[in-house]
Symmetry: C2
Amino acid sequence: MTTRKIHRRAQADYRWEGVENRPYKEDERALFKAVTRQVLFSDPEMAGELRYFEVAPGGFSTLERHEHMHAVLILRGSGHCLVGDEVRPLETRDLVTVPPMTWHQFRATQGEPLGFLCMVNAQRDKPQLPTDEELAKLEKNPEVAKFLRGM
Amino acid sequence: MTTRKIHRRAQADYRWEGVENRPYKEDERALFKAVTRQVLFSDPEMAGELRYFEVAPGGFSTLERHEHMHAVLILRGSGHCLVGDEVRPLETRDLVTVPPMTWHQFRATQGEPLGFLCMVNAQRDKPQLPTDEELAKLEKNPEVAKFLRGM
């Protein structure tokens, strides 16, 4: 039997009662930087999951792609995202759809945190990371290259 | 082929670019009052949907139950909810889980709008409305009766 907590109170600084705040460890390839994750909703009865990610100023999420989609709502702050070969400025409450197998990354480029909700399918494939060749191909677009260098 | 808009900008007053704002018509049974709905994410590739509901001050969502779950994040304002036989005060960013087959309602009781995100399964059953007998049973709890009268 699943025990469900009906009400989780919001806490200061975009934390939630009883929700673990998981920092992503930075690795040697520096594929992401200064990102934390909180899983807000995940339940055997639900086909989707809702997570909250927060990127500290100057940080960025992993540059990746996968078959599953992302449905993103910016909850806090502002920044930029890369989706495919498009770079977009993001403001609070903007919506971002990441289609299947589309390179994407979120960056906190404006000296403030970028916090966003991300809905995904509970059953989903693992992210793919770019090879050096794929990264070089992405960087051929000057706007994308600028984004990947941190704007 | 599905054409997906990658970026939808937030607009004033919790509206979104290209997202239809659907008022719920009030019916003679007054099962809900002053509620609007915007579907933020719905896609054949996604197992979940994300909607934004806004209840105007003094308004309330339908008192209903169903097999599918609701995963709710309060995005704007404050109010109260009923989940099962529990009445809870709600603040911005609070999380509410509505388990299967549990009576629930959201009310904007504090003189301000109550806006919330609601994640559901894309494939889901239709809501059930309470019979007069079920309503009478709910109202036997004084706290629930007070909530249903508008606090």
